[in-house]
């Protein structure tokens, strides 16, 4: 059979004439292995993880965040000082063996306060992302899956909320409710879930008409099973990316609000309050009071942003090679 095709092509294609037949080498092709897949079978997540690992900047961000998480947990216990512990004798000490990051104008240890601030920032960021996730997935999922009139009404509401200027609403809420960790998270999530809902809805709308969902339906799967087993796992990529990018937004918002005096109140520390307190140090030259909170806000946001970008590339099946 093979022999015959080669012969036939030789006759038809004049270019073949110039190549002597000795140059051809017969390759042994084992017919029985033709269907086997040589590339190891990888699940979506394994593949994404492999691709993420190749992205050095994103991995750097991930490692930084893990270290930050560890330090936020144990950091405040590494020193003998407490967050609000005022020692007026130690005002504005530069970094030294006793105070690794120096002290502020009330003699509080900046090292302790920085890691305490990391707790607040990470807590606010992660809580905001989780709440946005829960509300957004349920709302967007229902809206996209039901479609039609339900979808129309639900999306009108989202559009109105989307048009609200985010930080202004947050400021208004905090002024009325009074600043506390709880109200900050409430204020951030009250309009924050809208972005997630839009993404989930768009994804579900696309997926629900694909064949595998129809197949599942025709096997008699219940709606809850279709949503849980067919739709959600396939939207997880964009959802995770959105969550990673929500965290720096929330961290920025918390720092911004604390900077305006609406955030975490003294004696507790957040990076925003520390930066706000340190504003006066521009002229006095106590650089460490501004440097450490400012550095960690920026570095954390940077880490989340590059990790989000990396995940976006890693979780996009179109970029799979």
């Amino acid at each position: 059979m093979d022999q015959y095709t080669v012969e036939k092509e030789k006759q038809q294609d004049p270019r073949q004439e110039s190549i002597p037949s000795e140059w051809f080498e017969k390759v042994d092709r084992d017919q029985s292995n033709g269907e086997s897949v040589i590339r190891p079978s990888l699940s979506y997540w394994q593949d994404a993880w492999i691709r993420l690992r190749k992205n050095k900047i994103a991995m750097g961000g991930l490692i930084f965040l893990i270290l930050l998480g560890i330090m936020a947990t144990i950091g405040p216990y590494l020193t003998p000082y407490s967050v609000g512990g005022i020692t007026l004798a130690n005002q504005n000490q530069p970094p030294s063996w006793d105070h690794w990051f120096g002290t502020d104008d009330l003699g509080r240890d900046v090292f302790t306060r920085t890691w305490y601030g990391a707790r607040i920032s990470l807590f606010v960021g992660i809580m905001a992302a989780l709440i946005d996730f829960s509300i957004g997935v349920i709302y967007g999922g229902i809206s996209g899956y039901k479609g039609g009139r339900t979808d129309n009404v639900m999306m009108r509401f989202v559009e109105v909320l989307y048009g609200l200027p985010y930080l202004l609403v947050v400021i208004l809420l905090l002024v009325v409710l009074g600043p506390s960790l709880f109200t900050i998270i409430l204020a951030l999530t009250i309009t924050g879930w809208v972005g997630m809902a839009r993404i989930v809805r768009g994804q579900v709308l696309q997926l629900k008409n694909l064949e595998f969902v129809h197949a599942s339906k025709s096997f008699g799967a219940k709606t809850s099973r279709i949503i849980k087993k067919n739709l959600l796992p396939n939207t997880m990529g964009p959802i995770i990316v959105q969550m990673t990018l929500t965290v720096p937004t929330a961290i920025f918002a918390e720092a911004f609000l604390s900077f305006l005096g609406l955030g975490i109140q003294s004696p507790f520390a957040s990076w925003g309050t520390m930066a706000n307190d340190a504003l006066t140090t521009i002229l006095s030259g106590h650089w460490w009071r501004l440097f450490f909170p400012a550095f960690f806000i920026s570095a954390t946001m940077f880490a989340f942003n590059v990790l989000g970008d990396g995940l976006q590339d890693a979780l996009d099946p179109k970029l799979r090679r």
Partner: protein, 310 residues
């Protein structure tokens, strides 16, 4: 197109109404009254407030009066400043804030687009990586951190530029940089990615094949289309710049609306907070409306997409 414009217009009115109502509800939700004697400074102010907000009437009458005052741009007196109304503060502060905002947005737009285009043309080259590193850094460093850093380095240490206020073009440089860097970074990233996408399109190959000069192709054929996503996010960018003016004006002691707003937050001057929030929200919502409508006119494809029910 007309149908879409009307739909968007109604949505805009509704959004402003929701903001106004939310503000009213929150104002009434404050325990006791925000306008009791403890908070106000004197008798005259108290009388002004009661007259303006109809405090002796039922909530419904108050609400009607409140909506009317918003529609007529009359935001009532300030608690802490007996001689000023919120309108006085707005007319004094808003032009300065608007100036800062417009300069910053212009700078951000121009530099962001240029940076994005250069990065896209040198895709995966050193300039691309450099530009994108600058962009991610710009997104990651909060404007108030950048502002203090700039003052510390350029004003206090080097003494090149003035520390604060808004009195001459030299004074405007630092606040503008501090405010424009974040939006610039966002615009640069967006321009780059949409430019990269546009450059692979067939009509660009066609233009090349016709022998048009690279400059013409980039500016006339590619950039025009690549800028569409940038137009879409202009609303968000403006909102960011606007809230950014609050902290920037605080740091640089610029006598704009942002500074009055921050001051009113710290002093719990409720009418000023409420008035400014409603004014700024309405302002932003109107801008968002204009951006959306412009977008519809610029991009003929929008008509079809929007009518599919989005």
């Amino acid at each position: 197109m007309l149908k879409y414009t009307i739909k968007r217009f109604l949505l805009m009115i509704m959004t402003i109404w929701i903001i106004a109502t939310l503000t009213f509800v929150l104002m009434n939700a404050i325990p006791g009254s925000p306008f009791n004697e403890e908070r106000t400074s004197n008798e005259a102010v108290q009388a002004n407030l009661e007259a303006h907000f109809n405090l002796d009437q039922s909530p419904l009458v108050q609400y009607a009066g409140y909506l009317k005052s918003i529609a007529t741009f009359d935001y009532g007196p300030s608690i802490k400043k007996p001689n000023d109304s919120v309108n006085d503060l707005l007319s004094r502060g808003f032009p300065i804030s608007a100036e800062l905002g417009i300069i910053s947005v212009t700078v951000a737009l121009l530099s962001g687009v240029v940076l994005g285009v250069i990065a896209a043309l040198r895709h995966n080259g050193i300039i691309d990586y450099l530009a994108m590193t600058i962009a991610v850094l710009g997104i990651s460093i909060p404007n108030f951190v950048l502002a203090t850093l700039l003052i510390q380095q350029l004003s206090v240490n080097a003494g090149v530029l003035p520390v604060a206020t808004w009195s001459s073009p030299m004074h405007m440089i630092l606040p503008t940089i501090a405010l424009a860097t974040g939006p610039m970074a966002i615009i640069a990233r967006l321009t780059r990615s949409s430019m990269l996408e546009v450059l692979t399109q067939d009509y660009i190959k066609m233009a090349r094949a016709k022998g048009l000069s690279p400059m013409t192709i980039i500016v006339k054929h590619a950039l025009k289309n690549a800028l569409m996503p940038v137009v879409t996010i202009m609303g968000t960018i403006l909102a960011g710049v606007l809230t950014g003016t609050f902290v920037i004006e605080k740091i640089f002691a610029i006598p704009g609306m942002g500074q009055y707003f921050v001051e009113s937050i710290n002093q719990r001057d409720y009418p000023v907070i409420m008035g400014t929030t409603v004014f700024y929200s309405a302002f932003l919502v109107v801008i968002l409306f204009i951006v959306d409508i412009t977008y519809g006119f610029l991009d003929p494809r929008v008509k079809i997409h929007k009518e599919e029910g989005n």
